[in-house]
Each structure stands twice: as structure tokens, then as C-alpha cells.
Amino acid sequence: MEVAKRSFDVIGKGVHVKDAREKVTGSLKYAVDMTVQNMAHGKILRCPHPHAKIARIDTRKAEELPGVLGVLTHEDVPQNDWESAWFNYRGKVLDGIGRFVGDDVAAVAAVSSDIAEKAVELIEVEYEPLPHVFDMELARRQDAPTIRVEGNERPPYAVKWGDLQKGEEEAEIIVDCDISYMSQQYAPLGRNACIAEWMSDRVTVWTSSQTPSELRDGIHEALGIPLSKIRVMALPCGSSFGQWWSNNFMLITVLLAKKIRQPAKIELTNEECMSTVKRRHLERTRGRMGCTRDGRITLAEFDHLIDNGGYGFKDDVGFFCVDMWGKAKNGNYAIHGINTNLLTAGCMRGVGDCTLGASVERVADRLAEKVGMDPVEFRILNQITAGDELRMQHSRDNMKGNRDAYIEGIPPHLRKDWPELFCLSSGGTRAILERGASAFRWKDRWKGWAVPHAVDGSLHRGVGVGTGAHVCGVEFEGSSSAVVRINPDGSAKVHCSVGRQGQGSETTQSQVAAEELGLPFEMIEIETGDTDSCPWNHGSLASSTMYRTGWATRAAANDARRQLLEIASREFFDNADIDELDITDGEVHPRAEPKSNRRYSFREVLNELRSETLGQTSSITGRPSVPMPPSTTFARQFGAQFAEVEVDIETGQVKIIDFLAVQDSGTVVNPQVLKNQVIGGAICGSGFALYEHLVFDGETGAIKNANLLDYKLLRCADFPWQAEVLFEEAPDPVGPFGARGAGESPIAATMQSASGLIFP
């Protein structure tokens, strides 16, 4: 489907992020900065064993300490399972079993955090150690210790197409792989806290979260109270990358406050943030890929393991590198999630696509090497572009080839306006690879496989290329919604609970609303955290914010605009058809006469309504009226990246010297915000490729480097200042103004671009 490019007033402009001033002056309030009156301070007792049952817990000494207000144990906790977004946690808030070192055991509330910390040490716990397992290969075995009642492993998420035997026969070269990945930590620079305050049977929760609605759902599940009695006021969380969704310490805070009948705050230390919440999975890819002498992939077969740690439940998961390399005629991918007695693992930026994706990229490069092809050309030949089939057929239930039944299940009146399902709606890697290769002077700089293009003593320089893909949000947990309210003074407010993780969604959502309403950007403000005023929203995850929430914000703005035009038509334009009216700079005027003097501001329109019809509200609320198409079945984002890397072959030290990213996220809503996203992803991906990894103790599984001294994040100065980002803007037929997702393909592409040229 071709979508014509059009010119915009606000879309595509690099307006400053809305909270820039607050951030640089330090006035933006995060959860750690919040207090409420009469607030108690909580601390969590943590399990010292990798796997143990609490045989006896005695809290008397803790309770007797002056200043202690109460202790929460598993005996106080409703034994309901709750689930975080995308299976990042499934379990009870506390159930008397510790499943990793650092797991939550109990919590104390006191008048100060020092007293709470002392009291935690006074809780006497008799643990009954249970057999434990850290290695996911061992955890899959029949005789492995059982970590979860559901079993340590469930059936894999699998997709299979074509004829594998034929693919093998047609392959003239086959490359095998067995690649393991260490675990990356989100490593947020800011800490998190949670405050809960009960009033009668209603609770309000303040915490830094990317997923306010999912947190409200989680509290509902854990406590069994109606959603209407829960209000989440999500505060900015800063760089989060998937860490601050709904986390168990938030649920503990809610229950602790309920028990002591007083507001309570639990504030995590840096070490707790890094060793008790979650992390990226440990992963392992085994598989093979085959191609013909002229470089066409005939066979792609991969078996991928991810370790979920104690409470992760992620196995029903699709990774989108499968789609990107989907031109292979025959394929078979299986992804297995396995529980271990390590810290819970969950979705971190680019989940799967920067691990399985990097494995596929690495194998593909080896194939290209063997057939003597340039890696850029090999990708162009084997990766998809708009119109090509999507192989992953990702859905909540893993449809395993039942795509026709899926399509027939959708009411035809909805389906008729949608792009073709299970085909890529727009974009692809060809354009970004060609553009990048030219801008990076790839052909001049690439000297062949394992051949440095410059050598200075032990310093060898070479260039690498990588591609990455990811989804643009998912629809399986609910359809992200938004509300746009036009106020009587002519200003407007967007309500969409996407949280604020620092990537600029408050700004880009406002740009979408401003464009659709025809209102100046400065007249729009946004609420991103209050679940009482915002409709359900998936939050800022799965690269969905611009695509799926942006779609909802645009639809809501469109609905508000329609209502406004209807009033204007009735009151000022003799019941003219609203299509004959338009809005420019916040004023309604006849479409055919943009410079006409007959123009009425939003304020005039709304006040006209108020004065005439006494008692009627003078504000307008717009909301989406139809569901967004199931975009998992057609929308993807892509990144191609080129890096020049210097390796000291004597010491193994690696430096990134030069870097270029070309991003395909459809229409660019804000080039500054998107550039920041892409570079941020590239730094995070380079860090993962080169240095970042958690170190687990061999005996206990405890994390040994839960600090930023020994967990090495790349700093700005570790990344080339001249790094450049270019955009290819193939507009999407569904996304707002042609935009797609952006957050997660950049990190996926970096893995191979930064490390692919390094041969062992």
C-alpha cells in the first residue's frame, strides 16, 4: 500500500522535549523525590539462599524495635498470582518460598528507613533449603529441581514454514552455530521507589513506571479488589529500558501500607535496583543456516533458549529477526523460556532481536563470507521489504500456521480498511542499507572478512554492518487508548498512560495531537501517568508508543476535532458540512478560504456553546471509536548500522571509532527525539556487545557486580561524537501520519555492527 507524503505543521519538527527545562534544572519529580504526609518507610528482607522454603518466620523482635510500625510476611499476603506485562513476572507477591538470592521474603515499615533497615535484620527466619539450578540446560531436565508449579519449561514458541529437507538439499553451504549471551542489566541511572496510600478501601500508588495501566491490573490481580478502587499515579522513571513496568516491590508497598493503615514508601537502593528486580535473559542459540552459491538462503533453523530466572514467564514470545530474514524459503525457529534460580529476567530493550537476531546475523555473515559476498549485498538479497510475507505470525497463542482461520475470525467491515495481514505493510532494510552503505563509503572501507583496513602496531581497524528489526507494539494484552480533551480556554490535554521513560513520548504524542487538532504545539499538555484520568494503555513497551498509542492519540484528537467542528458549523457556519471547514493555528475557518476573516478560535467555539445551552459542559472529550488494526501482523521497524571499530589485538580492548545508523521508522515525528533514541540504542547495544554483563556467583547465583563500578556501561565519551543518524521515511498506511515504532531495532542492529568484524 502506497501512502503519499504530505507536509505537516508540527510532525517532523525537532521541538524540544516538553520536560527539558525541568530535567536540566532538577525540578522534575521522580518517585524517589515524592513524599506524602505521615508516610512510613519500608525495607524488604531478602532471601540469602538460591532456593528455600520459609519453615518458620518470627517477627516479634523486629516489631518490638522502637519506631517499627509493622511487618509484612507471606502469611499476610493474598495468595493470588499476578502478572506483569508480557509475562515479565508471574507469581504471588510473597508465598514463603525464595527462588533466587535477593528474592523478596518480608517487609518492615518504620518511622525511618534506618530503623526499618535495622528491624529487617531482627526478623528471624528458619529456611529449609531446596535444591536449586542455575543452568537453563540443567533446569530443563526431567530430574531438575522444580522452581515453579507450572514446571520450569513450557512448550516453545515455534514457527515453521516451507520444506526443511528441500531447503537442506538446495543449500550448497551450511553454517552451524552455538552462541551464548551473557545477561545485560537495565542499569538505570536513577533508582525507583513506590508510595501507597489507602483511603478506606481505595488505594493510590505513586511510582516511576512505564506501564501505569498494567500496574493497576497487577494490583487488581494480586489483591482481588476492583480496578475502580486502584489509582496509579505513575511518575517519570527516566531511562528504564523495560525495567520499571510493574515490579513486585510495588505490590509489597501496597500491602505493607494496608497492613499498617498508614501510607508507606519503599525506596530501592542502587544495589537492589540492579540485583533484585530483573535483567535481560541469559540466552543461547543453536542452529544452522544454508544458502546457495549465489547467496540465497534456502534454510534457516534455530533453537533458542532464554532463562527466565525465578519469576519471568516469557516463552510465548516472537522475535522479529525471523521476519527480517524471512525470504528464506524454508525455516524453523523455536524459542524456549526456562526458569532458573537466578534473578528474574524480563524484557529489556530489543528483547530477542538483539540476541537471537545477533545470532542469525552472525551466521548470515559467515555464509556471506563462504560464498564471497559483501555482507551488505547478502542482507539486501535475503531480507524483506514492503509486501513480503511475515513468517513469525506472532500472536498471543502462537497460531502455528492457522493464519487463514485468524483472518476469517475478524469482522469483514473492520478488515476491509486494513493492510494485508501477515505481510510487511511498509519499509524494509533495502533502502536503509543502500543509503547507509553510500553515506558510510562502505565499499571503500570494507576490505573483506577479517581483513583490517588499517593497522598501527597492535591496533587493527575494520568496519562492520548490522541490521535489526522489531515489532511496532503488540495488541494481545489490550488496545492502547487515549483521550484528548479540549478545554474552554482553547488549550488541549492528552491523556494516555504511557509513562515517562525519558524517550520523549510526552512530546511526540503532543505533536500528534497538535497536528490532528490544528492547534499550536504549545497549547497541548499531556498526562502520562494517572490511571484515573487515562484510559487503558499498554505503556511504553514493545516499541508501541508512537505506533499504537500515537494511533489512539490521533484518533482521539480526530474525534475531538470532529465534535468541535460540528459545534462551529452549527453556531457559526450555517450548518455547513464539517468537511468544508478546517482548522489552522487553533482557529476554525472555511476550508476553501484559509485566509478568511470568518475564523473562530477554539475558545470562541466552546464559549458559544456554554452561553447558549446552560448547564452543558463546555469542554470536549475525544476518544478512538474503532479498534486499531492488529499491527503485529503487518508493521515492523528496521535499522541498519555501520561501525568502524579498533581492536587492540594484544589486550583485547575494543573502541568504536566511527558510527552511522540509518533508521526506518516511517514518518519521523520528531527528528531530535528519534536521533536520541537511535544513538541511545546504539550505545546500549555496543555496551552489551563489548562489556556489559552481570556476574553470577557460581555457588549461590547472587549477582556480584550490582554496581556501576563493576557493571561497565559505556559513557558518552566511549562512543564516537561524530556518530550520525539518517532516516528513511517510508510512510506506514496505519501509523499516525505514517509513523512506525522506533525504540528497539537500533539496539538489535548494533550487536553485529559493533562486534561482527571481530573474529575469534
Binding site: 580492548q653 563489548l690 563493576d710 561497565k712 556501561l713 559505556l714
Partner: protein, 294 residues
């Protein structure tokens, strides 16, 4: 910060050491505080008295005379950084400070504080050892000089005792010799501590013959190691030989690797560290040779 403490600000060294001698280990000196505050917050130290020595006259500054370079213990890393053009050894020390912490922290962190923290991975320590420097300690009973390699006794342990304070570092100079030094380390990112480090200092006479040599290794033992047997091998060689593939150089690398007693930890394996000792020592000697040629 967990412990409650008293705060005093003595006006002189004598007053400071008297205070410290009185209270012993429950009192601590406050210089830049950048390491100490971290220890304090993690309850590694819980002092009852904090003796702020930041305002004491004479503890700060760098002076050069015929026989030595004097660096006051309270000299900030930033001041040391800005002293590069005053002497060739200060140029080397200045380059080292650029690797340490961040610009903000360098404005308050002090040379003395860095040495007294006695981290085996500290960046300045091996350079001072290689340069044959002395630590001048002021105590209630007067002053004494300790050779830099004897100043460090273990992780966070120094030979300071009985109220003593590190007053200054003295680097000896010989006006008849030309002296250069180099420092190398293995790090991962721009803000890191050394996984392995080494420093060499070479003095040559007017004929270009090596007359003095110091080689020191960091992060491969609880203290900074001085590789005396390797140093001896280089004495009498012509500096022109340093850059070449000489048997002596290989021997120096091997002796250095033998001297190293590295452990495996979250930062690196013992095997990697031992291997890198060779590379670091070789590179520091090559650096010295290049500087002497220039």
C-alpha cells in the same frame, strides 16, 4: 551516611595530628572525601570524629627544585593535571589524572587521599613507586620519610600510624640525568579502574646509557609491586635498545609476569592479568624510549 560524628577543622598539621593521635582509629582525616564518603555510606568506616584538613596551610601545591619535585598531599587531581608543562614527570602524572574518575570529581579528590586510600589498582601509586618517590609523614613525634613502595601495606592499608598524616610526596631528581616516565593500564570504558597497570621510569646519562630504572605494577597484588630484578637488567643498556626486540626486554616482561600475584575477580581473570602485565610493562618502556628520543 550512617554514623553520627563530630567535625573539627584544625589550623595546623600539629593540631591535626594531635587530634588524631588522641582518638586513634575512631577519628579520620577528611581530604577530598571522594573515597571516604563511599566507605562511610557503606559503613566500612564509621568515624566518631572527622578531621577536616582542607584548610591547613602548606599541604597543597607543587614545587620543583634542583633535587626533587614536592607534591603536597592536599593537591587536587585537577591541580596535578594542570601542572603538565612544569616538568616531564609532572606531564606523565598529569596524563594519569586524566584517566582518573571524572572532571568533576578531580576538582575535589586529592593526590594524598588517593594514595592513603591504598587501592592496589590506584593509578598514581605505581607511577610514584617507579619514580622512586618518598612519602613524607607528619606525626606527633615529628616527620619521617617512607619509600613509596613501603607506604602501601595492603588493600586500604598504609604505614601511617599513631595519628600520622601524609604531608607530601617527594620525587627525587638528579640534575645530571634525563628522566622520563610512563604509565599504562587496561581499562574498559572511559570511567573505570585499572584491571592491570604498570609504570616505568627511566633515567639516562648524557651518553644515553640507562642509569636509573623503576618498574612498578598495580592491580596484580594487594600492594604495588616493584620489580627490582627486572630493573637491574636494564641498567647500563643504551636507551636505543629499549625500543628493540632485545633479550633483556623479554626477560623484563617475564620477570614482571613472575612477580605479579594476580587474582581472578569480577573485573578480570588472573590469567589475563598476568598476560597483560607483560604488555603493559613493554609498552611503558617503549613509551619511555620514545620520550627520550624526542
Amino acid at each position: 551516611m550512617r554514623s553520627e560524628f563530630q567535625y573539627r577543622r584544625p589550623a595546623s598539621i600539629d593540631e591535626a595530628v594531635a587530634m588524631k593521635a588522641d582518638l586513634g582509629t575512631t577519628a579520620m582525616y577528611w581530604a577530598g572525601g571522594t573515597d571516604m564518603v563511599l566507605h562511610w555510606m557503606r559503613s566500612i568506616h564509621s568515624p566518631e570524629l572527622c578531621i577536616d584538613i582542607t584548610r591547613i596551610e602548606g599541604l597543597r601545591g607543587i614545587e620543583i627544585d634542583r633535587d626533587s619535585i614536592r607534591i603536597g598531599a592536599m593537591t587536587s587531581l585537577d591541580e596535578l593535571d594542570r601542572s603538565a608543562d612544569r616538568h616531564c614527570l609532572l606531564n606523565t602524572l598529569s596524563d594519569i589524572t586524566k584517566l582518573m574518575c571524572t572532571p568533576q570529581t578531580r576538582t575535589i579528590a586529592t593526590v594524598g587521599g588517593n594514595l592513603c586510600n591504598a587501592s592496589p589498582a590506584a593509578d598514581l601509586s605505581p607511577a610514584f613507586v617507579a619514580m622512586n618517590a618518598d612519602a613524607v609523614l607528619a606525626g606527633p613525634k615529628g616527620r619521617r620519610r617512607v619509600r613509596m613502595e613501603e607506604f602501601f601495606l595492603g588493600v586500604n592499608k598504609t604505614s601511617l600510624s599513631g595519628g600520622e598524616l601524609l604531608e607530601e610526596i617527594r620525587i627525587p631528581l638528579n640534575p645530571d640525568l634525563k628522566v622520563v616516565a610512563s604509565y599504562r593500564r587496561i581499562d574498559r570504558t572511559v570511567v573505570d579502574i585499572a584491571l592491570v597497570n604498570a609504570s616505568s621510569c627511566i633515567s639516562v646519562d648524557s651518553d644515553g646509557v640507562i642509569n636509573g630504572c623503576g618498574i612498578a605494577l598495580g592491580a596484580v597484588a594487594p600492594v604495588i609491586l616493584r620489580v627490582s630484578d627486572a630493573e637491574t637488567l636494564l641498567l647500563g643498556l643504551s636507551v636505543r635498545e629499549l625500543g628493540r626486540d632485545r633479550e633483556e626486554l623479554q626477560k623484563v616482561e617475564e620477570l614482571s609476569a613472575i612477580a605479579a600475584k594476580p587474582i581472578s575477580d569480577v573485573r578480570a581473570s588472573a590469567e589475563y592479568r598476568r598476560q597483560m602485565v607483560k604488555v603493559m610493562v613493554r609498552r611503558t618502556l617503549q613509551d619511555c624510549a620514545i620520550q627520550l628520543k624526542a
